[in-house]
């Protein structure tokens, strides 16, 4: 019996992975410990080792294909050994007469049955066998929506049979729905779901017309433009998450200046001591601790909101946006309210290093309850960050600028820093957001409060 190679689940929240590269070809001999393939999640790319000796008999998914976790993606066994799946035990299941539930390997090899569209450009000719076309027509499916697993990605009969149709949609609507995380089944639309319906669902009511108007048409390609190229999984993930957040959270950004004198003083007094312990202290660490403290006092902000349900999170998992190569990743420090400044500093630096090395675990990037995004080092003095869903707020941290301010009737120069809080107005009203921001400012201007 051939050994199944599964799409690994590399973290609690990982649901699918994209095969970036097969390091071995069909027919290659493999040994346990060999790098078999690399898989990209929305956050990082990992090499996956082979855990058995044998021959790579069959690769079920090509490079670039995205596969659900725990699905069979290849078989390893003795040379010439039969593999189940599309060409073996699954064959009867592929036959149209077989309406019974297919055997497990067949189910595993079958394409993801979902309302998510196959990865095709609008209007792209769909390679499909004539029989698959007939079946799709009989069932009223849009062929363009069905992922193909036959030769050259052809949609064949078993793909149509494995396909679970959602409501009828235009290809553009389906694509948008996938990007925006809109469940097509939740829409009550007479007839075909159009782009505007999806945008209305994503933008919720009044925002819809504006969103629809703003929604870009297919990009126009100028004569001198480069050929459009597919972006990497990280960028796709950022694009989807940001679009989703934009359509999910009605947000307001509140800006508040902070006199950073005390914060600078705190850092300079602690810096050397911590350095001796091998810990490099930055303003971000102090901000993380301060925001954590404030969040414990504002449980409605340390929450998430969906379907009119507000979930309070008992712990503060404070995230920090970290630039990584061509993208952005937000690792978070878990249970930050239980940790000292030194611990937060140490853990944060370790997370940043792991992020930049691409070795970060998925758990460290998920489960955050609030995010800090700092553009201070780039001289930014005001911005409006976008909420990292499903959180309810994000704090933008700006540059510290020596600024003339009035203190006790005198103009003095003080190191001033703007904090920009973007809050989800569905839960966090202006007053709560202001109070929360004010509390952060108090703690930064008088860090002794942290001891209280």
């Amino acid at each position: 019996m051939a050994t199944e190679v599964l799409m690994p689940k590399m973290g609690l929240t990982m649901t699918e992975g994209t095969i970036e590269e097969w390091k071995k070809k069909e027919g290659d001999a493999v040994k346990a410990g060999d790098i078999l393939f690399s898989v990209a999640t929305d956050k990082l790319t990992n090499d996956v080792e082979c855990d058995t000796d044998g021959t790579l008999l069959k690769v079920l998914y090509a490079e670039g294909e995205t596969v659900e976790c725990k699905k069979v993606i290849a078989y390893i066994g003795a040379p010439g050994e039969a593999v189940p799946g599309a060409e073996g035990a699954a064959a009867p299941a592929a036959a149209p007469a077989a309406t019974a539930a297919p055997a497990a390997p067949a189910a595993a090899a079958a394409p993801a049955a979902a309302t998510a569209p196959a990865n095709r450009a609008p209007g792209e000719f769909v390679l499909a066998s004539p029989y698959a076309r007939k079946l799709a027509k009989d069932k009223g499916y849009d062929l363009a929506m069905i992922p193909g697993t036959g030769p050259k990605g052809t949609v064949i009969a078993k793909d149509v049979e494995a396909f679970v149709a959602g409501p009828k949609t235009t290809p553009m609507a389906a694509k948008l729905a996938a990007e925006l995380g809109v469940d097509l089944n939740s829409l009550s639309v007479d007839g075909r779901v159009m782009k505007a319906d999806v945008l209305a669902a994503a933008g919720k009511g009044a925002a819809a017309p504006a969103a629809a108007a703003a929604a870009p048409a297919a990009p126009v390609q100028g004569a001198n433009d480069d050929k459009p190229k597919k972006v990497n999984p990280l960028r796709r993930s950022i694009a989807a998450n940001m679009s989703n957040s934009w359509h999910t959270s009605p947000r307001v950004t509140f800006t508040h200046p902070v006199d950073a004198t005390a914060m600078k003083e705190l850092r300079s007094k602690l810096k050397e001591g911590l350095k001796a312990k091998g810990i490099k202290l930055t303003y971000n660490h102090i901000l993380m601790m301060v925001v954590t403290k404030a969040l414990t006092e504002f449980p409605d902000i340390n929450s998430s909101f969906a379907d009119n349900l507000l979930t309070h999170h008992p712990h503060v998992n404070i995230g920090l946006a970290v630039a990584k190569g061509d993208g952005l990743i937000v690792p978070n420090v878990k249970n930050a309210e239980t940790k000292s400044l030194a611990e937060i500093a140490q853990e944060t630096e370790a997370l940043i290093a792991a992020t930049r090395d691409g070795k970060i675990a998925l758990e460290d990037m998920t489960g955050g309850t609030f995010t800090i995004s700092s553009l201070g080092p780039y001289g930014v003095t005001n911005f409006s960050p976008i909420i990292n869903q499903p959180e309810l707020g994000i704090l933008g941290v700006c540059d510290i600028v020596d600024t003339p301010v009035v203190r006790d009737g005198e103009i003095v120069i003080r190191p001033m820093m703007n904090l920009c809080l973007t809050a989800d107005h569905r839960v966090v009203d202006g007053v709560m957001a202001s109070k929360f921001l004010k509390r952060i400012v108090e703690l930064l201007e008088n860090p002794y409060e942290l001891l209280v």
Binding site: A82, E87, G88, A91, P92, A95, P130, Y131, G150, I156
Partner: protein, 324 residues
Amino acid sequence: MRKLTFAQATCEAMAETMEKDPTVFAMGEDLARQGGIFGQFKGLPDQFPGRILDTPISETFIIGGGVGAALAGARPVVDMHFADFIGVPMDEIFNQMAKARYMFGGQATVPLVLRAPDGMTFQGAAQHSQCVEAWFPHIPGIKVVAPSNPYDAKMVLKAAIESDDPVLYFENKILYKEKGELPEVADQVPYTIGKARVEREGTDVTIVSYSIGMKNARAAADLLAKDGIKAEVVDLITLSPWDKETVLNSVKKTHRLCVVHEAVKQSGFGAEISATVAEEAMEYLDAPILRYGAPFCPIPFAPTLEKMVRVYPEDLYKGIKGMF
């Protein structure tokens, strides 16, 4: 059940019909003297003195004489020696044998069987190895048959001799020596020309062949079965008029078609089968049609090269695997 070779089975068919019908006789080269160069008339010259006749080396006469005898009321069986020689009497075949009944407004028939041993033996070379069956289903007025096993060889030959219209009977030279089981005479089921047989039922792919191509079809089906792919194997038996219905029904069930014959692939009979399925059952196909036959070149004499123009079960196996 008795085990007979293909050649013996054809002898039995001859003997049974000759006993029943005194108008049946055979003529060709080396029949009476030698019993046919492949033993396919062995014993018959002694059993039926004067009814198994040797002719000069003149294919034109063999066919022309046969057509004349048939028109005059006999049921001749004439032998081509090698199917490769069939070009010599081509006018007798397609203008006389095939057209006489039509030209005489149905007042005369041509109950003639033309037996044509075909196919690659070993080192028969370019002029003694060919499969030319595809030339004849193009000609209205001739029935074309090509059995694949001893039992069919007998029953198809009997049906051919009993037919009032001319039948071209292709018999493969390698198959002559192959043994197969035949029921006792009383239990034999007559063959109706024009009927194909689903030799093996399957659900995943239809493999259509005839004559020696069936060996590839069966072996490929065995290979596929090991991988859980159930091939339906259809033996066409008759190429004209061929049994479209059986093939189409099978394809509608399996949604995949593979055609194989030993003859050159280009314009081979597989093309007719493929085109018909594409015309009449396109929407049932779940994969492109696969067609196997010899490459477009004369059959080489050199054994190594001869091997290269043969089709092997592994070719079908590999191709069919690629359909899923």
